[in-house]
Symmetry: C2
DNA sequence: CTGAAAGCGCTAACAT
DNA sequence: ATGTTAGCGCTTTCAG
């Protein structure tokens, strides 16, 4: 690895001269600057990032802690975060909590030792269930900024980026009501998560506001160790009255559509389906699933922007919550 | 941030004493060790990673450069890499090339300045098409080890982890032949990639070895700007003789299955389908797609192992290529 | 215009 | 058993 010292020796000048020259300091003669730069280029000199960071107490690195990279939502968020971070001259170090609080604690500990300037994270399921977030607050107390996205917590006071989960489910349910559906069922495999709870609330609200709707709300929660496929096939088989489904997680919507087709249920004539899936699954379904579009790329981008904003002005102790708007995109599974 | 200096001042000893104490040096009295450790724990002292790395010329960080994180194969590989790296005490810095050579160059440049000890990467499509890999060889020349996985190149002399693409396609095709299929069609949307080419070769070999098979090989390549869905629906609609499909990319197999079901083709009675998809799509299909299982987790793990192995013994200039075996898993879309 | 020196936080050879 | 010093590669005062 070629260092300032090497350059200095080659050119018979001091290290500090070289350093200044490379930064176009006007303390240095144009002639020297040129010579230094020429040699630097020739030898492919690159400033050692560790040394620069150590000196400046600034790593230009963001720690990203996500629950599960195999979940397409988080993969996409990571994609967006990486893209925006790169654009702004930041690297990202990625850790996966695998939904476990212990791993989350580890990752946070590991990186909060000067490795990163701040964190972007989404809370592990276990952490949300246990409602123990002191490990996150501990980082904040060390004056390392955190931006929470999607899965957030009231007990943490920091910047946040969320979607309007309540409103999104509310709108989706309203649409199904407007179609004249009489038996709207909500399916959730994420009822432990903050976002899951909010979406259910939105569904309740829409139902309760509709005077003409006679049925009680029907919420199907599927636990981690159940087979989503079996449960849904069963549901459609036994409860023939269901004429609309709002599936509030990543995958249930697609599964519901598959099973409906298999059972020869006419979609959307006799059954409407709205999912929260990402566009990537569309190529696997025919008709195309109608979805609540979550603008995941915007979520990632906004998270990076907020973090860097705070990094640039740490005095800024004001915390804000940014809500990314959703879109109800009607495709082939709704009337 | 609490440093050795802080601890030293609090305890009225020197910095080096503190350092040694924390490393259980036997130059230090048990008593002092205990006091130092107690205070360190109390103040939540964590050694500054940058300083340690700078001093030791060892970052314990791996740079991971992948083409596309929205591709489930790479997401899963990244998952495995992160997991194994963490287990071995390494962090990962992730960069996404987005299949672009330019971004690949940038990432490599950016991280080869002391940020990482080595790289794990899979080559961008553009790089494979252009066959220009000097930027990768340049890193190797700087004595920074690289492990290439999945998408590799003959023109790069380094450690590699691949699957037996040729053999996998060969076996899959042989199975279709053994079912007595007469019109086996290969579908590929990745014919520009090294792995794509190898899989096609495997298909050819199997076909050509079968004396009883009369038909010419039938290879359908779908380009980036075509709609895979349209193309496949069209294919099945127009060529009614097709009785078996081997889909060598991530998604075509599932799409083919969907379209076949839509067109009321009896799968697997009249049409067998084998895909190269990951298990994650299975929940979206009924019947379940038969696939070539690529053991992506093993690929990721092996990559980390190889890199760390080389890191631990840099003199080891011997490069090896590890081939991860595949499995043909027969499910509902084959007889 | 250039250089010497200090220091970021840590380790380790070398005193004491 | 503890302390001093030098140095990893870099930036930045302060001298010259």
């Amino acid at each position: 690895m070629v260092t300032l010292k090497h350059l200095a020796e080659q050119l018979n000048v001091s290290v500090s001269t070289v350093s200044k020259a490379l930064h176009d300091s006007d303390e240095i003669s144009p002639d020297t600057i040129e010579r230094v730069k020429a040699l630097a280029k020739f030898l492919n000199y690159k400033p050692n990032r560790l040394a620069v960071s150590l000196k400046s107490s600034k790593t230009n690195t963001i720690g990203v802690v996500i629950p599960n990279i195999l979940n397409h939502f988080f993969a996409k968020a990571l994609f967006a975060i990486e893209k925006e971070a790169t654009k702004q001259g930041y690297n990202i170090i990625t850790c996966v909590s695998n939904e476990m609080r212990e791993k989350e604690i580890n990752s946070l500990q590991l990186l909060s030792n000067g490795s990163v300037d701040g964190f972007i994270m989404s809370i592990a399921e276990e952490t949300q269930v246990l409602k123990k977030v002191d490990h996150i607050n501990a980082i904040l107390k060390q004056n390392i900024p955190i931006v929470l996205f999607d899965r957030v917590s009231e007990d943490i006071d920091c910047d946040k980026v969320i979607i309007d989960d309540f409103g999104a489910a509310y709108e989706a349910t309203k649409h199904l009501l407007s179609e004249g559906r009489k038996h709207i069922t909500l399916i959730s495999s994420i009822d432990e998560l903050s976002v899951g709870k909010l979406r259910v609330e939105g569904y309740y609200k829409a139902i309760s506001e509709d005077k003409k709707y006679k049925e009680k709300p029907n919420v199907i929660t599927i636990s981690r160790d159940e087979s989503i496929e079996e449960r849904i096939e069963n549901l459609l088989n036994t409860d023939k009255k269901i004429d609309a489904i709002i599936a509030i997680d990543n995958t249930s919507g697609v599964v519901a559509l598959q099973k409906a087709l298999k059972l020869n249920i006419d979609v959307p004539k006799n059954l409407s389906i709205i999912g929260f899936s990402d566009e990537n699954v569309l190529k696997f379904t025919d008709p195309k699933l109608s979805t609540v579009s979550q603008h995941t790329l915007d979520i990632g981008r906004a998270s990076v922007e907020m973090l860097i904003h705070k990094l640039n002005d740490k005095s800024l102790s004001q915390n804000t919550t940014k809500t990314i708007k959703t879109n109800l995109i009607l495709r082939g599974t709704t009337k």
